[in-house]
Symmetry: C2
């Protein structure tokens, strides 16, 4: 699973590369991973069940793939609850735009379904994989926690219990052979990496905690995550029946492309590919103007004649993530493709949208106190019925 | 390290067998493990430094091997503190006589050196290796904690901090290749076993906790343990310099033989080999009379003529562990070897000694409250200067 396939695209929890400026071929990925493409009927069903419009990330195919979400909806329809699980591996002090996506989408899911949420901070993963001290990884987790708190999740329904017992149970079900097959580990890897997948798996089985649905083992878990995290949850789904839990369901998102283009994803460790949530309005303007890969033509005349290519244009791609107004987006696509809109104008549009997203986030983050972080980082009880 | 050597003796953290009724050849084990035999001069030095007589377990060669204890004593002589680390893997509700040994000896060390002690309960190990639920392993740990508390360790100087950060640090330093080499693991083992050695290693580095010597990283650790635990601490000693800690020193004990003879050690999971700390006076009498392997001759006449063999006689061996009176022990050895003492009389002597040891333990254990167990199982601060 961790090797480059014939199409020269590599998608693992630690690396994402594609040979084409169009980025990862997600249809091929669905086939390779064995997940299910999200059809319009599923999106309509969610809108119908929740009585709220489907999220634009779903409508636009950014949340593109899933596993067993139908089962979650079946249960929900019968009045049976479920819970959400998402997480964050804190690789840098400042989160970037791409990190917003799972939390924006998870916030929507918590709001429309009114369900508990478990958030796991995997600073342990970052310590094991990166050249970083435990203390530094923990500090980054605290900093990232402020950003997560800023999303305004229902505090009484959002927490992270102490998973050690569940981690042990998962560790006992998974062999070295299995993690080698799934993650491409080998005997030169440290033993921390070998056992880490059990840590990421464990919160999928949070329902057994008394504070979530009273400890009933048959409550399903729905995990919104980027598609690169799927290997962890394929393993988790294999283990689930042996531990007597339902398999967690998944909703997969695509990657927010790097500023330089969709051949890789935005990466916190490469500053020039990223717009950080700490960037100033001027930083955002400068980075987009300087780095955002353009699908436009090399001269104005040529552009007016041929038009821009939205399939590779990073600014347009970003708008699909962050501009909620469907009509406006459709007009931009039309005008840019026809050549009526120039790259400079498209970038100006994106700059204004991103500046607003980031400024609003910064405002909310400023309200986060150290005490809120302390509470967030400490396992505590969840309120599980409204 | 985990394979049977040419002498047909196998000593791993999970199995101990010897081909001879004399039991494990400990001199060969010292050579194989690369540890150091305890010389009289070391025993005398400990007596001199502490101003107390050396413990009978040391005087009689039951604590027989060590690593770097000289360095601990050098530091102690210069007024530099150290701390003790020992542990318990709770494999059954009732601990047996063999389990007493490390705690009896550790209690002596804490008393004469007046140093902090960290005790680790490895119910996680038992869960991973045995057919047992997490809850059952934890329950056994609580039960065993009562026995440990009954030893009367200085409560203010005995605890177990939360080791997760240290575990991660160790996990990052040790490869799959290394644990395969040291412990004989293979790719069919579960990932929990693969990473467990880091859990057992971590308390060796407890000195970095603020509550033990103010967080100074250069305070050494002394680990009293049975020799089968040495592989864990060989690994720990390899890792120590990379993490900037001193290598932990070790004091190794031999095994208390099974009732049936020294070809294996007393095992909690095989009831007929064991005297439990919960056994009644009658149980103890019956078990010793029925099972304790005798080095005596088959008829009284033969015994009077040839004498008994104390090297293989389990009752005599047990007296070396539990009868503190050196003169009395010497007389028993002389009389039994000469044939003046019969097996029945030797067993009668042992029965009385063991009944007293167990009855005293049961009395102390009865004083242990649930609150004391709760406190013991919860990480808390240590008092580290008297």
């Amino acid at each position: 699973m961790a090797t480059t396939d014939q199409d020269d695209q590599l998608v693992t929890p630690w690396e994402v590369t594609a040979a084409s400026q169009k980025g990862v071929d997600y249809d091929k990925l669905i086939k390779k991973f064995g997940s299910t493409k999200i059809e319009d009927s599923l999106i309509e069903r969610i809108a119908r069940l929740t009585g709220k419009p489907a999220h634009h990330l779903m409508r636009r195919g950014i949340i593109f793939s899933h596993r067993d979400v139908g089962l979650i909806l079946d249960a929900y329809e019968k009045g049976k609850p479920f819970f959400l699980y998402t997480g964050r591996g804190p690789s840098s002090e400042a989160m970037h735009l791409g990190h917003l996506i799972p939390f924006v989408f998870t916030k929507y899911l918590q709001d429309v379904f009114d369900v508990p949420l478990v958030i796991q901070m995997t600073d342990d993963e970052k310590f094991l994989w990166k050249d970083m001290s435990v203390e530094e990884a923990r500090r980054l987790a605290s900093e990232n926690a402020k950003d997560i708190i800023a999303f305004g999740f229902d505090k009484e329904k959002t927490s992270s219990p102490d998973f050690y017992k569940t981690i042990l149970r998962v560790e006992k079900c998974v062999t070295v052979n299995q993690v080698k097959g799934i993650f491409g580990f080998n005997d030169s890897d440290c033993i921390g990496k070998i056992s880490f997948p059990a840590i990421q798996a464990a919160p999928s089985f949070s329902c057994s905690f008394p504070q979530i649905f009273g400890g009933k083992k048959d409550i399903a878990c729905l995990i919104p995550c980027a598609i690169d995290q799927d290997p962890y949850f394929r393993m988790t789904r294999d283990v689930a029946p042996r531990l007597g839990y339902p398999k967690p369901a998944l909703l997969h998102s695509t990657f927010l492309p790097a500023l330089q283009g969709a051949m890789t994803k935005m990466s916190a460790s490469e500053a020039s590919t990223s717009i950080y949530l700490t960037d100033s309005a001027d930083d955002i303007r400068d980075k987009i103007n300087k780095y955002a890969y353009s699908g436009g033509q090399s001269t104005v005349e040529e552009h007016r004649r041929v038009g821009g290519n939205v399939d590779v244009d990073v600014s347009y791609q970003y708008l699909t993530f962050f501009l909620e107004d469907d009509e406006k987006l459709a007009k931009i696509e039309k005008d840019y493709s026809s050549g009526a809109m120039l790259t400079g104008d498209l970038k100006k549009e994106l700059i204004s949208v991103v500046q607003q997203v980031v400024a609003e986030h910064q405002q909310r983050r400023q309200q986060v106190t150290e005490q809120m972080v302390q509470e967030f980082m400490t396992p505590r009880k969840l309120k599980y019925s409204s």
